[in-house]
């Protein structure tokens, strides 16, 4: 226990003795984690926007005029089985006539003495998946179902939204990975610098028979504390940014709001602890070879 207290105290002393380099490192960690947090918020809100937009995707499937309402039910059940299809709603010929009357104010039976409107179905597709949705195979599968006469969908709009989503998703992933590597490198180099400056302590500890783990622990604590401090500051700044952003948005509209996941802070702190640990481990492992 006393040994642990000694090692933790040495870790804190390292930070206190090398305030400037530690502050620089904490600031770098803060900035990079803040950027990662922002990317996370952008990604999260993009995902929610995509889910909303996908809920508006509508595929209208018109059946052949000779398809009866019962047959329409059966065909729609076939369509429901196609991968990527979330739900279907059958519109019988009578339903279609009702919709016509609602929209145009006249009963089609009065005009034509018969109902020429075919049975149809509205198909909704899965909307919560993270990958972009490829609409073409779904349309093709629907078109191949026996009894289907025509398929209407917002092909260009859907493709464009999905393409942008794919780009945003990939961009965020690559940017976050690069920023993470940069952060690990920053912490690693700060620890290396501390290690070089503390070479007298390292040498003294080696000479009196300290194990590699014993020598490394204060530097690992140093790295963990740098990461943790940077993460706490980044979390505070991130929530501050979301709060301020929503404040300004509220002045323009009440329908849009930036949502901030309650767990962002937890994620950032966990990431920072891992980053700090990896950075410090890399530095000390190399220098104690």
């Amino acid at each position: 226990m006393d040994k642990l207290v000694f090692l933790i105290a040495e870790g804190f002393k390292n930070i206190w003795r090398f305030k400037l380099s530690t502050l620089t490192s904490i600031f770098s960690v803060f900035m990079t984690l803040y950027l990662i947090g922002l990317l996370f918020v952008i990604g999260d809100n993009s995902q929610k926007l995509i889910v909303y937009l996908r809920s508006k995707y509508k595929i209208e499937v018109f059946y052949r005029p000779d398809v009866s309402d019962r047959q329409a039910q059966a065909i729609t059940q076939e369509i429901q089985k196609i991968p990527g299809v979330r739900s279907t709603t059958v519109i019988t010929r009578a339903d279609a006539a009702r919709i016509f009357e609602q929209q145009f104010g006249n009963d089609i039976m009065d005009i034509l003495d018969e109902n020429p409107l075919p049975a149809s179905a509205v198909v909704n597709i899965s909307r919560t998946q993270t990958a972009s949705i490829d609409i073409a195979p779904i349309i093709s599968a629907i078109e191949n179902v026996d009894g289907v006469d025509d398929v209407n969908f917002q092909g260009r709009l859907i493709n464009r939204i999905e393409r942008y989503y794919e780009l945003i998703y990939q961009g965020i992933t690559i940017a976050a990975a690069v920023i993470l590597l940069v952060t690990i490198s920053i912490i690693s180099n700060t620890i290396k610098l501390t290690f070089y400056i503390r070479s007298d302590l390292v040498k003294a500890l080696q000479l009196v028979g300290a194990s590699r783990t014993f020598i490394r622990i204060p530097f690992l604590i140093d790295g963990l504390l740098q990461g943790l401090t940077g993460a706490i500051l980044a979390t505070a700044a991130l929530y501050g940014t979301i709060y301020t952003g929503n404040h300004f948005i509220a002045m323009i509209t009440s329908r849009v709001r930036i949502s901030g996941d309650y767990f962002i802070g937890l994620w950032l702190i966990t990431a920072a602890l891992l980053i700090g640990l990896i950075g410090a481990s890399r530095a000390t492992a190399k220098l104690l070879k």
Partner: protein, 216 residues
């Protein structure tokens, strides 16, 4: 206790030691004397496993250091006390904390550390300077502090590399007396020096080294 068999070590541009055969028994006091660059420090570094021989072998209590795994090195070093010409005290902590360092490494409880450090500082006449920083101590006091740091963990042997090199003659003589007392209690001492006058009349074994080779 420590045996060197046909040990050779070369640096990139010069020979460190060549075909050294040496045996140091438990409790023995041995001087190694030779001019600067003759291989004294290389020999010390081979014994405390800072270097591995190019050929031959170093045995510490029967353990061949060539076969020692990395995790064995700290354990071997805990049985060896080191004293250098440059005192190598940590400037960021006081005398007490410097001397306590090896005991923290050994994982001793705080109370025991205090008792051991106080005892050794008292014995070496440094107790009143416990809270002094290294730069507030004289050269002789700093060297005694190094001895305290080496002794506090009760080592089997002390390796002293030119411990009097930075001391005035009177302080150097006092230090030699102190090392004699320590040896008198059973701790082996292997001391390197280039000052023959200082050691010749002390009645201990003297080995000569020149250009990396031992001469008896």
């Amino acid at each position: 206790m420590i045996t060197l068999e046909d040990v050779s070590y070369s640096y990139k541009k010069w020979i460190g030691v060549s075909d050294v055969n040496l045996r140091i028994e438990s409790g023995e006091y041995t001087y190694i004397i030779g001019p600067t660059g003759s291989g004294k420090t290389t020999l010390m570094r081979l014994i405390y496993l800072d270097l591995k021989p190019d050929s031959g072998r170093v045995l510490i209590e029967g353990l061949d250091t060539n076969k020692a795994k990395r995790r064995h090195i700290p354990k071997i070093r805990r049985r060896i006390g080191m004293i250098f010409q440059e005192y190598n005290l940590l400037e960021d902590r006081n005398l007490f904390a410097n001397v306590a360092l090896p005991l923290h490494v050994l994982g001793q409880p705080r109370k025991e550390i205090k008792a051991s450090v106080d005892a050794i500082l008292n014995e070496l006449g440094l107790y009143s300077k416990s809270s002094h920083m290294p730069n507030e101590l004289s050269g002789g006091e700093q060297q005694r502090a190094c001895i305290a740091r080496a002794l506090v963990k009760k080592p089997d042997i002390i390796l002293a590399d030119e411990p009097t090199g930075n001391l005035d003659p009177i302080t150097a003589y006092d230090l030699m007396e102190l090392l004699d007392q320590i040896n008198g209690r059973g701790t082996a001492i292997f001391m390197a020096s280039h000052n023959y006058t200082l050691i010749r009349d002390r009645g201990h074994r003297i080995i000569q080294i020149q250009e990396g080779k031992l001469r008896t």
